[in-house]
Symmetry: C2
Subunit: 117 residues, 2 copies
């Protein structure tokens, strides 16, 4: 990730409602959540939410897919991890002290190629 992409992602997350949206999507995992459900959960007007979704999407932090009448938004872990990598790039250069700082779905242990159980 380069600087402009990092700034875009940071700006997208630098807003209370969007940060809430993104955290809910991260917690929701790859299945994502319908726009309406998020609107209800966060008590936001649907058009306001659309505005915020656009920001998140332009920053590459979420994806959308249509499912019937609903639009399902889901977190893009790849971008999130690239951002974390960019932010920690200048820290403890070369030392292993710094963890990889990765973000993965919260509830992945279902259909994975058997590991840890």
């Amino acid at each position: 990730m380069e600087r402009s992409g990092a700034v875009a992602a940071l700006a997208a997350l630098a807003q209370e409602n969007r940060l809430d949206v993104f955290r809910l999507l991260v917690a929701a995992g790859p299945a994502g959540l319908a726009a309406g459900r998020l609107a209800a959960a966060l008590d936001l007007a649907p058009n306001t939410l659309t505005f915020h979704f656009d920001r998140l999407r332009m920053a590459g932090l979420v994806t959308v897919r249509r499912e019937g009448r609903s639009m399902i938004y889901a977190a893009r872990y790849e971008t999130m991890n690239a951002l974390l990598a960019y932010l920690t790039e200048n820290c403890c250069r070369g030392a292993q002290t710094c963890g990889p700082a990765v973000c993965e779905p919260s509830l992945p242990a279902r259909k994975r190629k058997r590991e840890t159980a």
Copy 2:
């Protein structure tokens, strides 16, 4: 760290010049850098830089101290790490897959209580 603090830190970093400033400070370590040196390095007007320093300082991302005629700015790793922790909080809940995501000075291996060498 709570949401408002995270938003403040994200907003502070969500600007090209400020992100550059912060990364240079992170790379510079606890010794920090004089405002003038950063102004020269980034080719920014001194008053513009003051504006950005204020944002970073209000977000708790940097500290200042006077040294002669110069103002020395330094990164606050503590806040940076709290932000990283907040961002990765909802990721792979409970799994060790996610690293600790910490940010420490780049060149610390000098006066530490002997470890790893």
